[in-house]
Amino acid sequence: MIKSKATRIGDAVIIILCLLLMFICLLPMLNVLARSLSSSEFLIRNEVLLWPKGFNTDAYTTVLNNSKYQHSMIFTAGLTVLCTLLSLTMTVFCAYPLTYDNLKGGSFLNGIIIFTMYFSAGTIPNYLLIKSLGLLENWWVLVIPNCLSVYNMIIMRSFFFSVPDSLREAAEIDGAGPIRTLFSVYLPLSTSVLATLALFYAVGRWNGFSDALLYIKSKEEYFPIQLYLYNILQNSTNAEIATQEGFSNPGLAETVKMATVMFATVPILLVYPWLQRYFVTGVTIGAVKG
Protein backbone atom coordinates (compact mmCIF):
# COMPACT_ATOMS: atom_id res chain seq x y z
CA MET A 1 0.00 0.00 0.00
CA ILE A 2 1.34 3.41 -0.89
CA LYS A 3 1.12 5.75 2.06
CA SER A 4 0.09 9.34 1.65
CA LYS A 5 2.34 12.12 2.84
CA ALA A 6 0.03 12.88 5.78
CA THR A 7 0.18 9.25 6.91
CA ARG A 8 3.95 9.20 6.70
CA ILE A 9 4.25 12.36 8.77
CA GLY A 10 1.77 10.87 11.23
CA ASP A 11 3.85 7.68 11.49
CA ALA A 12 6.94 9.75 12.20
CA VAL A 13 5.15 11.73 14.91
CA ILE A 14 4.02 8.47 16.51
CA ILE A 15 7.53 7.09 16.59
CA ILE A 16 8.83 10.32 18.10
CA LEU A 17 6.13 10.22 20.77
CA CYS A 18 7.04 6.60 21.60
CA LEU A 19 10.71 7.51 21.88
CA LEU A 20 9.78 10.38 24.16
CA LEU A 21 7.72 8.10 26.42
CA MET A 22 10.57 5.62 26.57
CA PHE A 23 12.95 8.40 27.51
CA ILE A 24 10.62 9.52 30.33
CA CYS A 25 10.48 5.96 31.65
CA LEU A 26 14.25 5.55 31.57
CA LEU A 27 15.28 9.05 32.66
CA PRO A 28 15.29 8.48 36.45
CA MET A 29 17.21 5.23 36.03
CA LEU A 30 19.80 6.86 33.78
CA ASN A 31 20.26 9.69 36.25
CA VAL A 32 20.79 7.35 39.19
CA LEU A 33 23.06 5.09 37.16
CA ALA A 34 25.17 8.08 36.14
CA ARG A 35 25.40 9.27 39.74
CA SER A 36 26.35 5.86 41.05
CA LEU A 37 29.27 5.71 38.60
CA SER A 38 30.53 9.25 39.16
CA SER A 39 33.11 10.53 41.57
CA SER A 40 31.82 12.62 44.44
CA GLU A 41 33.64 15.83 43.47
CA PHE A 42 31.52 16.11 40.32
CA LEU A 43 28.36 15.21 42.24
CA ILE A 44 28.90 17.97 44.78
CA ARG A 45 29.34 20.49 41.97
CA ASN A 46 26.04 19.29 40.45
CA GLU A 47 27.72 18.41 37.20
CA VAL A 48 26.36 14.92 36.73
CA LEU A 49 23.19 14.70 34.64
CA LEU A 50 22.72 11.57 32.54
CA TRP A 51 26.32 10.64 31.91
CA PRO A 52 28.85 9.71 34.63
CA LYS A 53 31.76 12.06 35.28
CA GLY A 54 34.93 10.88 36.91
CA PHE A 55 33.90 7.32 36.08
CA ASN A 56 34.58 4.80 38.80
CA THR A 57 32.92 1.76 40.30
CA ASP A 58 33.97 2.37 43.91
CA ALA A 59 30.37 2.67 45.07
CA TYR A 60 29.51 -0.76 43.71
CA THR A 61 32.59 -2.31 45.27
CA THR A 62 31.73 -0.68 48.59
CA VAL A 63 28.17 -1.98 48.49
CA LEU A 64 29.24 -5.45 47.46
CA ASN A 65 31.75 -5.59 50.29
CA ASN A 66 29.27 -4.36 52.88
CA SER A 67 28.32 -7.35 55.00
CA LYS A 68 24.88 -5.95 55.94
CA TYR A 69 24.06 -5.47 52.29
CA GLN A 70 25.36 -8.92 51.36
CA HIS A 71 23.26 -10.49 54.05
CA SER A 72 20.11 -8.62 53.11
CA MET A 73 20.51 -9.44 49.44
CA ILE A 74 21.09 -13.16 50.03
CA PHE A 75 18.27 -13.30 52.58
CA THR A 76 15.84 -11.56 50.21
CA ALA A 77 16.84 -13.76 47.29
CA GLY A 78 16.26 -16.91 49.33
CA LEU A 79 13.01 -15.52 50.66
CA THR A 80 11.84 -14.70 47.15
CA VAL A 81 12.58 -18.19 45.85
CA LEU A 82 10.88 -19.85 48.83
CA CYS A 83 7.81 -17.58 48.64
CA THR A 84 7.44 -18.07 44.91
CA LEU A 85 7.58 -21.86 45.11
CA LEU A 86 5.23 -22.02 48.07
CA SER A 87 2.80 -19.54 46.53
CA LEU A 88 2.69 -21.36 43.20
CA THR A 89 1.97 -24.65 44.96
CA MET A 90 -0.77 -23.10 47.08
CA THR A 91 -2.27 -21.36 44.07
CA VAL A 92 -2.45 -24.56 42.03
CA PHE A 93 -3.81 -26.54 45.00
CA CYS A 94 -6.49 -23.94 45.50
CA ALA A 95 -7.44 -23.30 41.89
CA TYR A 96 -7.50 -26.82 40.52
CA PRO A 97 -10.23 -28.39 42.71
CA LEU A 98 -12.43 -25.36 42.14
CA THR A 99 -12.48 -26.06 38.40
CA TYR A 100 -14.46 -29.25 39.07
CA ASP A 101 -18.08 -28.32 38.66
CA ASN A 102 -19.24 -31.41 40.54
CA LEU A 103 -17.08 -30.71 43.59
CA LYS A 104 -19.57 -30.74 46.46
CA GLY A 105 -19.44 -27.46 48.37
CA GLY A 106 -17.26 -25.99 45.64
CA SER A 107 -19.30 -22.85 45.06
CA PHE A 108 -19.52 -22.22 48.81
CA LEU A 109 -15.74 -22.49 49.17
CA ASN A 110 -15.31 -20.31 46.12
CA GLY A 111 -17.56 -17.71 47.73
CA ILE A 112 -15.68 -17.55 51.02
CA ILE A 113 -12.40 -17.27 49.14
CA ILE A 114 -13.55 -14.47 46.83
CA PHE A 115 -15.04 -12.58 49.78
CA THR A 116 -11.57 -12.05 51.24
CA MET A 117 -10.62 -10.14 48.11
CA TYR A 118 -13.20 -7.44 48.82
CA PHE A 119 -13.21 -7.33 52.58
CA SER A 120 -10.13 -7.65 54.72
CA ALA A 121 -9.89 -7.34 58.48
CA GLY A 122 -7.43 -4.45 58.26
CA THR A 123 -3.91 -3.66 59.33
CA ILE A 124 -4.34 -3.73 63.08
CA PRO A 125 -6.45 -6.93 63.36
CA ASN A 126 -3.89 -8.65 61.14
CA TYR A 127 -1.12 -7.36 63.36
CA LEU A 128 -2.92 -8.54 66.50
CA LEU A 129 -3.35 -12.00 65.00
CA ILE A 130 0.31 -12.24 63.99
CA LYS A 131 1.22 -11.10 67.48
CA SER A 132 -0.98 -13.72 69.16
CA LEU A 133 0.46 -16.42 66.90
CA GLY A 134 3.91 -15.41 68.13
CA LEU A 135 5.12 -14.67 64.62
CA LEU A 136 6.44 -11.17 65.35
CA GLU A 137 10.19 -10.92 64.74
CA ASN A 138 10.06 -14.31 63.00
CA TRP A 139 11.07 -14.49 59.34
CA TRP A 140 8.24 -16.88 58.48
CA VAL A 141 5.95 -13.87 58.82
CA LEU A 142 7.43 -12.70 55.52
CA VAL A 143 6.47 -15.98 53.85
CA ILE A 144 3.19 -17.37 55.09
CA PRO A 145 0.63 -14.57 55.61
CA ASN A 146 0.71 -13.58 51.94
CA CYS A 147 1.54 -16.90 50.33
CA LEU A 148 -1.72 -17.06 48.37
CA SER A 149 -3.27 -14.25 46.37
CA VAL A 150 -6.92 -14.60 45.40
CA TYR A 151 -6.32 -12.50 42.31
CA ASN A 152 -3.58 -14.87 41.12
CA MET A 153 -5.71 -17.87 42.05
CA ILE A 154 -8.45 -16.55 39.77
CA ILE A 155 -5.96 -16.18 36.91
CA MET A 156 -4.84 -19.77 37.46
CA ARG A 157 -8.40 -21.06 37.65
CA SER A 158 -9.46 -19.20 34.51
CA PHE A 159 -6.53 -20.75 32.72
CA PHE A 160 -7.45 -24.24 33.90
CA PHE A 161 -10.99 -23.62 32.66
CA SER A 162 -9.61 -22.90 29.21
CA VAL A 163 -8.06 -26.39 28.97
CA PRO A 164 -10.42 -28.49 26.83
CA ASP A 165 -12.60 -30.86 28.86
CA SER A 166 -11.89 -33.62 26.36
CA LEU A 167 -8.32 -33.82 27.66
CA ARG A 168 -9.52 -34.31 31.22
CA GLU A 169 -12.06 -36.89 30.12
CA ALA A 170 -9.44 -38.78 28.11
CA ALA A 171 -7.17 -38.91 31.16
CA GLU A 172 -10.02 -40.14 33.34
CA ILE A 173 -10.89 -42.86 30.85
CA ASP A 174 -7.26 -43.97 31.06
CA GLY A 175 -7.88 -44.40 34.78
CA ALA A 176 -6.09 -41.27 36.01
CA GLY A 177 -7.43 -39.70 39.19
CA PRO A 178 -7.75 -35.92 39.63
CA ILE A 179 -4.20 -35.56 40.95
CA ARG A 180 -2.59 -37.49 38.12
CA THR A 181 -4.69 -35.51 35.67
CA LEU A 182 -3.38 -32.33 37.25
CA PHE A 183 0.24 -33.36 36.93
CA SER A 184 0.10 -35.11 33.57
CA VAL A 185 -2.41 -32.94 31.70
CA TYR A 186 -2.98 -29.54 33.31
CA LEU A 187 0.40 -28.47 34.63
CA PRO A 188 2.36 -29.28 31.43
CA LEU A 189 -0.10 -27.09 29.53
CA SER A 190 0.15 -24.27 32.06
CA THR A 191 3.81 -23.28 31.85
CA SER A 192 2.97 -19.82 30.49
CA VAL A 193 0.56 -18.95 33.25
CA LEU A 194 2.82 -20.50 35.89
CA ALA A 195 5.66 -18.31 34.62
CA THR A 196 3.42 -15.25 34.86
CA LEU A 197 2.31 -16.00 38.40
CA ALA A 198 5.87 -16.83 39.43
CA LEU A 199 6.86 -13.37 38.18
CA PHE A 200 3.99 -11.69 40.04
CA TYR A 201 4.76 -13.48 43.30
CA ALA A 202 8.51 -12.99 42.98
CA VAL A 203 8.19 -9.27 42.22
CA GLY A 204 5.72 -8.91 45.07
CA ARG A 205 8.15 -10.44 47.54
CA TRP A 206 11.24 -8.73 46.17
CA ASN A 207 9.54 -5.32 46.26
CA GLY A 208 7.55 -5.88 49.44
CA PHE A 209 8.55 -4.15 52.62
CA SER A 210 5.41 -3.15 54.51
CA ASP A 211 5.05 -6.57 56.18
CA ALA A 212 8.64 -6.38 57.37
CA LEU A 213 8.08 -2.83 58.58
CA LEU A 214 5.03 -3.94 60.58
CA TYR A 215 6.16 -7.27 61.93
CA ILE A 216 9.95 -7.12 62.18
CA LYS A 217 11.31 -4.25 64.15
CA SER A 218 14.44 -5.25 65.98
CA LYS A 219 15.89 -8.17 64.05
CA GLU A 220 17.89 -6.47 61.34
CA GLU A 221 19.05 -9.80 59.95
CA TYR A 222 15.48 -10.35 58.70
CA PHE A 223 15.22 -7.03 56.90
CA PRO A 224 14.46 -7.62 53.23
CA ILE A 225 16.38 -5.54 50.73
CA GLN A 226 13.62 -2.94 50.33
CA LEU A 227 13.45 -2.22 54.03
CA TYR A 228 17.24 -2.01 54.13
CA LEU A 229 17.09 0.46 51.25
CA TYR A 230 14.26 2.41 52.89
CA ASN A 231 16.32 2.86 56.03
CA ILE A 232 19.32 4.01 54.01
CA LEU A 233 17.27 6.49 51.99
CA GLN A 234 15.43 7.83 55.03
CA ASN A 235 18.65 8.71 56.79
CA SER A 236 18.95 12.37 56.07
CA THR A 237 22.65 12.99 56.15
CA ASN A 238 25.29 11.12 54.29
CA ALA A 239 27.72 11.29 57.18
CA GLU A 240 25.14 9.48 59.30
CA ILE A 241 25.03 6.58 56.87
CA ALA A 242 28.78 6.55 56.60
CA THR A 243 29.11 6.06 60.34
CA GLN A 244 26.19 3.67 60.62
CA GLU A 245 27.18 1.46 57.75
CA GLY A 246 30.86 1.76 58.49
CA PHE A 247 31.93 3.33 55.19
CA SER A 248 35.35 4.85 55.46
CA ASN A 249 34.72 7.71 53.05
CA PRO A 250 31.63 9.87 53.79
CA GLY A 251 31.79 11.43 50.31
CA LEU A 252 31.07 8.01 48.95
CA ALA A 253 27.74 7.74 50.76
CA GLU A 254 25.72 9.50 48.04
CA THR A 255 27.01 7.25 45.28
CA VAL A 256 26.61 4.26 47.57
CA LYS A 257 22.92 5.06 48.02
CA MET A 258 22.54 5.17 44.26
CA ALA A 259 24.46 1.93 43.79
CA THR A 260 22.21 0.23 46.34
CA VAL A 261 19.15 1.43 44.42
CA MET A 262 20.63 -0.05 41.26
CA PHE A 263 21.37 -3.37 42.95
CA ALA A 264 17.83 -3.62 44.27
CA THR A 265 16.44 -2.94 40.80
CA VAL A 266 18.62 -4.98 38.50
CA PRO A 267 17.40 -8.52 39.34
CA ILE A 268 13.88 -7.65 38.22
CA LEU A 269 15.06 -5.81 35.15
CA LEU A 270 16.94 -8.92 34.10
CA VAL A 271 13.89 -11.15 34.39
CA TYR A 272 10.71 -9.39 33.30
CA PRO A 273 11.45 -8.68 29.59
CA TRP A 274 11.80 -12.41 28.95
CA LEU A 275 8.41 -13.10 30.42
CA GLN A 276 6.59 -10.27 28.66
CA ARG A 277 4.81 -12.56 26.23
CA TYR A 278 3.46 -14.57 29.16
CA PHE A 279 2.42 -11.89 31.58
CA VAL A 280 0.44 -10.05 28.95
CA THR A 281 -1.77 -13.14 28.74
CA GLY A 282 -1.90 -13.42 32.52
CA VAL A 283 -2.98 -9.82 33.04
CA THR A 284 -5.64 -10.17 30.37
CA ILE A 285 -7.09 -13.30 31.95
CA GLY A 286 -7.10 -11.61 35.34
CA ALA A 287 -8.99 -8.63 34.00
CA VAL A 288 -11.85 -10.58 32.44
CA LYS A 289 -12.20 -12.73 35.51
CA GLY A 290 -15.24 -14.85 36.26
Binding site: N46, C94, I124, S158, Q276
Partner: protein, 319 residues
Amino acid sequence: MQNQGKKMKKTGGMSFGTYMRRYGTLYLLLILPLIFFAVFRYAPMAYILSAFKQNNIIKAPWQVPWAKNNGFEWFIKAFRDREFINALRNTLTLNLLDLLCGFPVPILMALLLNEVTAKGFKKVTQTVLYLPHFLSWIIISGLALRLLADNDGLFNIVLKRLSGNPQAAVPYLSNSTHWVWTYIVLGIWKEAGWGTIIYLAALTGISPELYEAAAVDGAGRFRRIWHVTLPGLRPTIITLLIMNLGRILGSEFDRPLALSNKLVTDVSNVISIYVYQKGIKGSQFSLSTAVGLFQSVVGVFFLLTANTVAKRVGERGIM
Protein backbone atom coordinates in the same frame (compact mmCIF):
# COMPACT_ATOMS: atom_id res chain seq x y z
CA MET B 1 -19.05 -16.53 35.11
CA GLN B 2 -18.12 -16.88 31.48
CA ASN B 3 -16.96 -20.44 31.80
CA GLN B 4 -20.19 -21.83 33.20
CA GLY B 5 -21.01 -23.61 29.97
CA LYS B 6 -17.87 -25.66 29.65
CA LYS B 7 -17.40 -27.20 33.05
CA MET B 8 -17.50 -30.90 33.78
CA LYS B 9 -20.80 -32.62 33.25
CA LYS B 10 -22.68 -33.47 36.42
CA THR B 11 -22.03 -36.96 37.69
CA GLY B 12 -25.61 -37.70 38.56
CA GLY B 13 -26.51 -40.68 40.76
CA MET B 14 -23.08 -41.45 42.19
CA SER B 15 -23.02 -42.88 45.73
CA PHE B 16 -21.13 -40.97 48.42
CA GLY B 17 -18.46 -43.69 48.64
CA THR B 18 -17.81 -43.70 44.92
CA TYR B 19 -17.80 -39.91 44.89
CA MET B 20 -15.22 -39.67 47.66
CA ARG B 21 -13.06 -42.38 46.08
CA ARG B 22 -13.02 -40.50 42.83
CA TYR B 23 -12.87 -36.87 44.00
CA GLY B 24 -11.77 -37.04 47.64
CA THR B 25 -8.21 -36.15 46.69
CA LEU B 26 -9.47 -32.77 45.51
CA TYR B 27 -10.40 -31.95 49.10
CA LEU B 28 -6.91 -32.98 50.18
CA LEU B 29 -5.49 -30.40 47.80
CA LEU B 30 -7.78 -27.77 49.27
CA ILE B 31 -6.79 -28.39 52.90
CA LEU B 32 -3.73 -26.12 52.97
CA PRO B 33 -5.35 -23.24 51.07
CA LEU B 34 -8.42 -23.41 53.30
CA ILE B 35 -6.31 -23.40 56.46
CA PHE B 36 -4.52 -20.39 55.02
CA PHE B 37 -7.77 -18.49 54.45
CA ALA B 38 -9.16 -19.50 57.84
CA VAL B 39 -6.07 -18.45 59.77
CA PHE B 40 -4.76 -15.44 57.86
CA ARG B 41 -7.92 -13.99 56.37
CA TYR B 42 -10.83 -14.93 58.64
CA ALA B 43 -9.23 -15.28 62.09
CA PRO B 44 -8.06 -11.62 62.03
CA MET B 45 -11.69 -10.61 61.65
CA ALA B 46 -12.26 -11.66 65.26
CA TYR B 47 -9.89 -8.88 66.27
CA ILE B 48 -12.15 -6.32 64.60
CA LEU B 49 -14.03 -6.59 67.89
CA SER B 50 -11.37 -4.42 69.49
CA ALA B 51 -12.85 -1.45 67.61
CA PHE B 52 -15.79 -1.67 70.03
CA LYS B 53 -13.80 -2.49 73.18
CA GLN B 54 -11.65 -0.55 75.58
CA ASN B 55 -8.09 -0.20 74.44
CA ASN B 56 -5.91 -2.94 75.87
CA ILE B 57 -2.53 -3.77 74.46
CA ILE B 58 -2.15 -7.06 76.27
CA LYS B 59 -5.48 -8.87 76.42
CA ALA B 60 -7.45 -10.15 73.45
CA PRO B 61 -10.47 -7.98 72.62
CA TRP B 62 -12.99 -10.58 73.81
CA GLN B 63 -11.51 -10.43 77.32
CA VAL B 64 -11.90 -6.67 77.55
CA PRO B 65 -15.01 -4.61 78.55
CA TRP B 66 -17.00 -2.70 75.93
CA ALA B 67 -15.97 0.83 75.08
CA LYS B 68 -18.04 3.85 76.12
CA ASN B 69 -21.00 5.17 74.10
CA ASN B 70 -22.39 1.68 73.46
CA GLY B 71 -19.03 0.62 72.08
CA PHE B 72 -18.81 3.43 69.56
CA GLU B 73 -16.40 5.54 71.57
CA TRP B 74 -13.52 5.09 69.11
CA PHE B 75 -15.55 5.92 66.04
CA ILE B 76 -16.74 9.13 67.72
CA LYS B 77 -13.19 9.90 68.82
CA ALA B 78 -11.86 9.36 65.30
CA PHE B 79 -14.36 11.75 63.76
CA ARG B 80 -13.53 14.37 66.38
CA ASP B 81 -9.82 13.95 65.69
CA ARG B 82 -8.54 16.67 63.35
CA GLU B 83 -5.72 14.37 62.28
CA PHE B 84 -8.15 11.67 61.13
CA ILE B 85 -10.38 14.13 59.28
CA ASN B 86 -7.25 15.43 57.61
CA ALA B 87 -6.20 11.87 56.66
CA LEU B 88 -9.67 11.18 55.27
CA ARG B 89 -9.55 14.37 53.22
CA ASN B 90 -6.05 13.57 51.93
CA THR B 91 -7.08 10.05 50.98
CA LEU B 92 -10.04 11.30 48.98
CA THR B 93 -8.10 14.14 47.37
CA LEU B 94 -5.17 12.00 46.28
CA ASN B 95 -7.42 9.20 45.01
CA LEU B 96 -9.67 11.58 43.08
CA LEU B 97 -6.70 13.31 41.48
CA ASP B 98 -5.24 9.90 40.66
CA LEU B 99 -8.46 8.94 38.96
CA LEU B 100 -8.96 12.21 37.07
CA CYS B 101 -5.37 12.55 35.89
CA GLY B 102 -4.22 8.96 35.83
CA PHE B 103 -7.16 7.14 34.32
CA PRO B 104 -7.03 8.58 30.76
CA VAL B 105 -3.25 8.19 30.36
CA PRO B 106 -3.07 4.42 29.67
CA ILE B 107 -5.94 4.78 27.20
CA LEU B 108 -4.09 7.47 25.28
CA MET B 109 -0.88 5.45 25.41
CA ALA B 110 -2.67 2.34 24.14
CA LEU B 111 -4.13 4.36 21.26
CA LEU B 112 -0.63 5.55 20.45
CA LEU B 113 0.90 2.07 20.61
CA ASN B 114 -1.93 0.74 18.46
CA GLU B 115 -0.85 3.10 15.70
CA VAL B 116 2.73 1.82 15.68
CA THR B 117 3.12 -0.39 12.62
CA ALA B 118 6.66 -1.69 13.10
CA LYS B 119 6.27 -4.81 15.26
CA GLY B 120 9.78 -4.91 16.72
CA PHE B 121 9.73 -1.23 17.65
CA LYS B 122 6.32 -1.65 19.25
CA LYS B 123 7.56 -4.53 21.38
CA VAL B 124 10.63 -2.64 22.56
CA THR B 125 8.48 0.38 23.42
CA GLN B 126 6.14 -1.83 25.43
CA THR B 127 9.00 -3.47 27.32
CA VAL B 128 10.37 -0.07 28.32
CA LEU B 129 6.95 1.26 29.29
CA TYR B 130 6.31 -1.75 31.55
CA LEU B 131 9.56 -1.19 33.43
CA PRO B 132 8.38 1.29 36.09
CA HIS B 133 5.63 -1.09 37.19
CA PHE B 134 8.27 -3.52 38.42
CA LEU B 135 10.00 -0.99 40.64
CA SER B 136 9.03 -0.76 44.29
CA TRP B 137 7.90 2.56 45.74
CA ILE B 138 11.04 2.58 47.85
CA ILE B 139 13.18 2.46 44.72
CA ILE B 140 11.02 5.09 43.07
CA SER B 141 11.35 7.36 46.07
CA GLY B 142 15.12 6.98 45.74
CA LEU B 143 14.94 7.80 42.03
CA ALA B 144 12.53 10.69 42.56
CA LEU B 145 14.64 12.28 45.24
CA ARG B 146 17.64 12.41 42.91
CA LEU B 147 15.54 13.80 40.11
CA LEU B 148 13.49 16.32 42.07
CA ALA B 149 15.51 17.44 45.09
CA ASP B 150 15.52 21.21 45.68
CA ASN B 151 19.26 21.79 45.48
CA ASP B 152 20.86 18.97 43.58
CA GLY B 153 18.00 17.25 41.76
CA LEU B 154 18.40 16.81 38.03
CA PHE B 155 15.36 18.95 37.16
CA ASN B 156 16.43 21.84 39.33
CA ILE B 157 20.04 21.67 38.15
CA VAL B 158 18.83 21.95 34.57
CA LEU B 159 16.36 24.70 35.50
CA LYS B 160 19.06 26.73 37.22
CA ARG B 161 21.38 26.38 34.25
CA LEU B 162 18.74 27.29 31.70
CA SER B 163 17.39 30.26 33.65
CA GLY B 164 20.86 31.39 34.70
CA ASN B 165 19.44 32.03 38.16
CA PRO B 166 21.06 29.91 40.89
CA GLN B 167 18.07 30.60 43.18
CA ALA B 168 15.49 29.23 40.76
CA ALA B 169 14.28 25.90 42.07
CA VAL B 170 10.90 24.20 42.06
CA PRO B 171 10.15 22.66 45.48
CA TYR B 172 8.77 19.41 44.01
CA LEU B 173 9.03 17.50 47.26
CA SER B 174 9.18 20.13 49.96
CA ASN B 175 6.09 22.22 49.21
CA SER B 176 2.68 20.68 49.93
CA THR B 177 0.97 21.62 46.68
CA HIS B 178 3.94 20.62 44.56
CA TRP B 179 4.25 17.39 46.50
CA VAL B 180 0.66 16.40 45.67
CA TRP B 181 1.34 16.78 41.96
CA THR B 182 4.65 14.95 42.28
CA TYR B 183 2.78 12.12 43.99
CA ILE B 184 0.20 11.98 41.20
CA VAL B 185 2.72 12.20 38.37
CA LEU B 186 4.92 9.50 39.88
CA GLY B 187 1.85 7.28 40.19
CA ILE B 188 1.14 7.79 36.51
CA TRP B 189 4.79 7.21 35.67
CA LYS B 190 4.74 3.89 37.52
CA GLU B 191 1.45 2.39 36.37
CA ALA B 192 0.36 3.99 33.08
CA GLY B 193 2.51 1.76 30.89
CA TRP B 194 1.37 -1.36 32.68
CA GLY B 195 -2.21 -0.15 32.39
CA THR B 196 -1.98 -0.25 28.59
CA ILE B 197 -1.80 -4.07 28.60
CA ILE B 198 -5.47 -4.52 29.19
CA TYR B 199 -6.50 -1.93 26.58
CA LEU B 200 -4.12 -3.40 24.01
CA ALA B 201 -5.66 -6.81 24.67
CA ALA B 202 -9.12 -5.35 24.11
CA LEU B 203 -7.89 -3.77 20.88
CA THR B 204 -6.88 -7.13 19.43
CA GLY B 205 -10.56 -8.04 19.61
CA ILE B 206 -11.56 -5.31 17.17
CA SER B 207 -12.19 -6.74 13.71
CA PRO B 208 -9.70 -5.48 11.08
CA GLU B 209 -12.65 -5.25 8.68
CA LEU B 210 -13.92 -2.25 10.63
CA TYR B 211 -10.64 -0.46 9.97
CA GLU B 212 -10.74 -1.42 6.31
CA ALA B 213 -14.31 -0.18 6.00
CA ALA B 214 -13.33 3.09 7.66
CA ALA B 215 -10.38 3.45 5.29
CA VAL B 216 -12.65 2.85 2.28
CA ASP B 217 -14.92 5.59 3.60
CA GLY B 218 -11.92 7.87 3.55
CA ALA B 219 -11.54 8.19 7.31
CA GLY B 220 -8.18 9.57 8.42
CA ARG B 221 -6.20 8.41 11.42
CA PHE B 222 -8.10 10.47 13.98
CA ARG B 223 -11.54 9.58 12.65
CA ARG B 224 -10.55 5.91 12.65
CA ILE B 225 -9.48 6.19 16.28
CA TRP B 226 -12.65 8.06 17.18
CA HIS B 227 -15.15 5.85 15.34
CA VAL B 228 -13.56 2.40 15.51
CA THR B 229 -10.87 2.11 18.19
CA LEU B 230 -12.49 4.05 21.03
CA PRO B 231 -15.91 2.36 20.72
CA GLY B 232 -14.06 -0.96 20.80
CA LEU B 233 -12.46 0.04 24.10
CA ARG B 234 -15.69 1.30 25.65
CA PRO B 235 -16.61 -1.78 27.75
CA THR B 236 -13.07 -2.08 29.12
CA ILE B 237 -12.92 1.62 29.94
CA ILE B 238 -16.22 1.49 31.81
CA THR B 239 -15.35 -1.66 33.77
CA LEU B 240 -12.01 -0.23 34.86
CA LEU B 241 -13.56 3.13 35.71
CA ILE B 242 -16.03 1.38 37.99
CA MET B 243 -13.34 -0.64 39.70
CA ASN B 244 -11.39 2.55 40.31
CA LEU B 245 -14.41 4.42 41.62
CA GLY B 246 -15.00 1.53 44.00
CA ARG B 247 -11.53 2.05 45.43
CA ILE B 248 -11.90 5.77 46.01
CA LEU B 249 -11.52 5.43 49.79
CA GLY B 250 -8.84 2.75 49.65
CA SER B 251 -5.39 3.84 50.59
CA GLU B 252 -2.04 2.57 49.55
CA PHE B 253 0.63 2.24 52.19
CA ASP B 254 3.97 1.90 50.43
CA ARG B 255 3.44 4.85 48.13
CA PRO B 256 2.67 7.64 50.62
CA LEU B 257 5.12 6.21 53.14
CA ALA B 258 7.99 6.10 50.68
CA LEU B 259 7.31 9.46 49.05
CA SER B 260 6.38 11.47 52.13
CA ASN B 261 8.73 13.67 54.11
CA LYS B 262 8.48 15.83 57.23
CA LEU B 263 7.64 18.98 55.31
CA VAL B 264 4.49 17.71 53.63
CA THR B 265 2.73 15.54 56.24
CA ASP B 266 -0.30 17.86 56.13
CA VAL B 267 -1.12 16.52 52.64
CA SER B 268 0.64 13.16 52.63
CA ASN B 269 -0.88 11.53 55.72
CA VAL B 270 -3.56 9.21 54.36
CA ILE B 271 -5.72 6.77 56.34
CA SER B 272 -3.28 3.86 56.08
CA ILE B 273 -0.48 6.02 57.46
CA TYR B 274 -2.75 7.30 60.23
CA VAL B 275 -3.59 3.69 61.18
CA TYR B 276 0.08 2.75 61.13
CA GLN B 277 1.13 5.66 63.29
CA LYS B 278 -1.71 5.47 65.81
CA GLY B 279 -1.93 1.69 65.92
CA ILE B 280 1.50 0.18 65.43
CA LYS B 281 3.60 3.05 66.68
CA GLY B 282 1.20 4.47 69.28
CA SER B 283 -0.43 1.20 70.45
CA GLN B 284 -3.92 2.72 70.10
CA PHE B 285 -5.27 -0.55 68.75
CA SER B 286 -8.97 0.20 69.32
CA LEU B 287 -8.95 3.58 67.64
CA SER B 288 -6.96 2.42 64.63
CA THR B 289 -9.03 -0.76 64.24
CA ALA B 290 -12.16 1.40 64.24
CA VAL B 291 -10.69 3.61 61.53
CA GLY B 292 -9.66 0.56 59.47
CA LEU B 293 -13.12 -0.95 59.83
CA PHE B 294 -14.75 2.29 58.73
CA GLN B 295 -12.51 2.31 55.67
CA SER B 296 -13.21 -1.35 54.79
CA VAL B 297 -16.97 -1.07 55.19
CA VAL B 298 -17.26 2.14 53.19
CA GLY B 299 -14.94 0.61 50.59
CA VAL B 300 -17.17 -2.44 50.16
CA PHE B 301 -20.22 -0.16 49.97
CA PHE B 302 -18.62 1.93 47.21
CA LEU B 303 -17.61 -1.16 45.29
CA LEU B 304 -21.07 -2.73 45.48
CA THR B 305 -22.71 0.54 44.45
CA ALA B 306 -20.35 0.99 41.51
CA ASN B 307 -20.96 -2.60 40.46
CA THR B 308 -24.74 -2.19 40.64
CA VAL B 309 -24.62 1.03 38.65
CA ALA B 310 -22.50 -0.68 36.02
CA LYS B 311 -24.99 -3.48 35.61
CA ARG B 312 -27.88 -0.99 35.58
CA VAL B 313 -26.40 0.86 32.62
CA GLY B 314 -25.94 -2.40 30.78
CA GLU B 315 -22.23 -2.98 31.27
CA ARG B 316 -20.56 -6.10 32.60
CA GLY B 317 -19.88 -5.56 36.29
CA ILE B 318 -16.95 -7.02 38.15
CA MET B 319 -18.86 -9.38 40.40
